[in-house]
Symmetry: D2
Subunit: 333 residues, 4 copies
């Protein structure tokens, strides 16, 4: 097709960038215009990730020599991302940014968790890329700040309550596979260290917490969120087990009805009738949610996603689909 959108993936040698390249490469309405990397220039992507079958060579990102592109997915670390996003926006490209750089609306909060911001002038234009919550704004957006994996799983699990202002107190115990840790190798994710292991990390404060609190507040429930992430001995997959006190008592039936109504039309969010396993959503852009109420009246909302699909690259393409005027499901099913 002559008029496929030309999409660049910058930072394609990491886990999420490589997957983004794969999804774009097989997307019916997109053409993968290039894959760039800061560490593996000259290597073909299908050498690093044989299973993704993307036969393109990684190049350096040269903004001056960049041929015409319509859009870009940027998979850089936070901090490094902002100036590149700004440059790509300057060239007119629509951008889905996988870093944290444009997720937090409040600059001081960003600076507390991440340091100085590289392009604060773009914060106003950025739309938080959780499609199920910001769909209409994303249709008009030129820059999507694709959420982190934990906020995706957590906010989708709690949005139906948050939107009604029902959340009074929230605990999120999240669990993730090692792909969420990134490709940078170190002792922690060595197979010999991680196999037959599981542990919490950053118990005092993970930087995804303010992102979750921001979004739940924006929806209508400015509740305190306790958030503890865990690393599990698996590759792709994430569970968010959310425990919520509500501002009004709710029966299990009421909660189930609330969720059923909220997610009835969502193409990627599915209510399930038993706690979801991460294998149920592996390699998909789906989020499975189970909700119930325990004997003490606490709402339990358990969600499962693939952290590098719905928690990163799949969601980036879902955002791009909207920003480019395509059906949001294209290339994702």
């Amino acid at each position: 097709m002559a008029d496929k959108a030309k999409v660049l993936v910058a930072g394609a040698s990491g886990f999420t960038g490589a997957l983004a390249a794969q999804i774009v490469h097989h997307h019916p309405s997109m053409e993968l215009a290039g894959v760039t990397s800061r560490s593996d220039v000259g290597t073909r992507l299908d050498r690093l990730y044989p299973r993704y079958r993307v036969p393109l060579e990684l190049t350096e990102l040269d903004l001056d020599a960049l041929e015409d592109i319509d859009a870009a997915i940027v998979a850089y670390p936070h901090g490094a991302s902002a100036p590149t996003v700004a440059a790509l926006r300057g060239l007119g490209a629509i951008v889905a940014d996988l870093s944290a750089d444009f997720r937090l609306r409040d600059l001081p909060t960003y600076e507390r968790w991440y340091g100085e911001h590289g392009a604060p002038e773009l914060l106003e234009d950025a739309v938080y890329g959780l499609v199920e919550v910001h769909r209409e704004r994303l249709r008009e957006a030129k820059l999507a700040a694709v959420p982190g994996c934990y906020p995706t799983a957590g906010v989708l699990a709690l949005a139906p309550l948050a939107e009604r202002g029902l959340l009074a107190d929230v605990v999120i115990d999240a669990k993730q596979g090692t792909s969420g840790y990134g490709r940078s190798s170190d002792d922690i994710v060595h197979f010999s260290a991680m196999d037959e292991n599981a542990f919490a990390y950053k118990a005092e404060g993970h930087r995804h917490r303010p992102e979750i609190e921001q979004e739940l507040a924006a929806l209508g429930s400015p509740a305190p969120v306790t958030f503890v992430p865990h690393l599990l001995p698996l590759d792709q997959g994430e569970l968010a087990s959310c425990f919520a006190r509500t501002s009004a008592p709710l029966s299990r039936e009421e909660v189930e009805a609330l969720y059923a109504e909220r997610y009835a039309e969502e193409p990627f969010v599915h209510l399930v009738d038993r706690p979801p396993g991460v294998r149920d959503v592996r390699d998909t852009n789906e989020c499975h949610v189970y909700v119930t109420v325990d004997e003490h009246g606490r709402v339990l909302a358990l969600s499962a996603i693939d952290n590098i699909w719905k928690g990163a690259s799949g969601q980036a393409v879902q955002c791009l689909n909207l920003m480019l005027g395509f059906d949001e499901r294209e290339g994702l099913t």
Copy 2:
């Protein structure tokens, strides 16, 4: 040594029974008097579990022909355990029971979760076998109701607060490997189903919850406990991530001091300065606890045990050591 205690392990073909047999077999003051099984009679235990190196043949439990024993560890399913425990007690044996049959003090609560009780007359004599909490009573006991793995990890994580009456509201998100599921094979623990998977189960109510609530209340904090267990793709190991609202505000330093004081003399409970991994305690009777307070003032207490050691068979031997007058650490280090 002529006067080793003769210890029978009944139900030694299951995961916890087999491990109990191993620990007893290598115990300096115990002699493994026999291993019985209802399913694998005639098989040597080191055929079923080569790594435990117990060269005894599994036999049927024949109470009439039973030679003199001093003690027994019973690793039967709940319900089946009570009458066997009663018979062994009738023969004068000291018993550590790994089932749920004597853990709940309240008969109606037992009946609600497990059905009819097979030996209610023994409930009064049974002492809950969490040594760190009931050490002195266990020295005099003849029947120890060894706790389930989740209550062990959960109560040890929360006891220092519970004893001061400080617990106001508790969420426990627990995670366990497949050895906790038991040896009975089914689809759920098939390697092909469990690998690269993780999920919650019994979200509405797991029968370990009343056990946890009973013990926290006995310690001084009758708080509501929300408890959700998860199954992880690993063999041995358990994490209990406990989130507690306290009845009075506590700083991180105060909480750490409270825990440090409480566990200073405990041989098997260790405070650690980062969230513990299950590999840290694998194949040991230890419980590692990390405690902190988050920005919203909630206490986070994270504990790790080996579910079949400190969560079952190691703890059973720890109980027997006390009941038989040995050092509680014997055979466990």
Copy 3:
């Protein structure tokens, strides 16, 4: 499309049957006419295998009530398969049989390894379903005996040598994940038994060996084959490490050229320039082959497949595609 081929999957509750149902369900030229099971009647297939997303209910196979079908994939155990295949053939259906019942050309050999044969009259019509070797005959066939996973990986690794009569002596050391063990649960594939484990089995004689010897002989090399399979702690994936003495000395370049020529046009067999990993072919119908010669002049041919795709259900659909007149790649890429 009105003229999609109607395909029944019999035995769809096992690992390979379920995957066959998934592939057929999403096949552009096939319609999944039904899924049958002997053990899970009344259950929806997407309940048993959520990730396959096949929303059909499993029914009993009732040959009398069977509506018009064009073809069937039979995923029964050997022995049970033959009479069902015969009945389906009697109804005029084209059949791809995943069992061993029609693979061995020699009835006594079959009887030695599997017992009495349930439909020996069909042996003559059956074509061994290794497409890369029997493509033209399969186009005319009505019954494909889909190879076992080990013969698929082994014969594809060795065919270029076998066809030239070059194989003098063969050792195959094969390794497979637990999906190859089948869904039937037992102690061996319990996660707690298989994790952190690996071992050989049936070292004296696995019934896939005569199948491999039959096919290598048919190609031109009636060499003795030593074959030892191993079980690995992974789900899907198989390696065949083949060590061959050749009847004439061959350099590495000669062997590489031989393989390159032989597989140049094959859509699913790819030569690779480093030993393949099973992840490279996971969830695909591909076979990756690496070939080299060691210092002692022995040819090493290392192949990797997904045992339930190219080693079973993917290959069954590849056969059906040919027998139904479709492009053999349809529904498989």
Copy 4:
């Protein structure tokens, strides 16, 4: 005890060095005199490896300041090891070297595979540390060249045949967990790369092959050995599947008798009656061997070890025990 042997472990921050430190630390006749590291100076060993429970701080190796030691285990990479070993020998210490530096008797062969040798003058004094083969010489030795894990598993599987000059042609297909890859982190052993994966490596020539050929020849069978190692998704454990053509035909009974006689008195080598799994020997110094003959008269000898125990650190201590005049089993059971 006043006269425990003082043993230094140099290179204790790697996988095998850390395990060596643990074994020495708990050894009844040894005292751990120090743990040194080139990369983690100042860190306590139980911080890096909590499960080993060695509460010593890693220091730099300062040969001048070294207090009196009786022996050392050196766990350096090849090349780096030789000069350190030479220096320690110069101080009079008995040394067990875990590197390859003193394993190959032939200097040119060493140089081909490893580069220049740092202390060739010591080659003559070094004894190959496979106790089951060189026990008596080790009693008199001051320097043990502890074998690599693959040669240990391979030679033990084949020694009974090699000693009778019976080996005519050998294929060894070996499989190992990621601890054999070492602690140095890279993409290959990232959990996300290794999980659900398995592959061969160095198919054209692994440097353990000349070591295996040297030892089989020394025993009496200078046979060509084809050797291909594989990496498996597990931590500790190694299988060597050995396929041997013999110079004279042997029945299964004859081979079993030969092995039974050869290994009857060995404390760490056990013949087993089914193919061994790596879990059977995990965390032990044992080698389990299964031997049989297939229909084509080829001998199959399958051995399992823990690659960092019997394949490295356990074996180093077994050597030290002999060199120091202790029972070779001390500290290893």
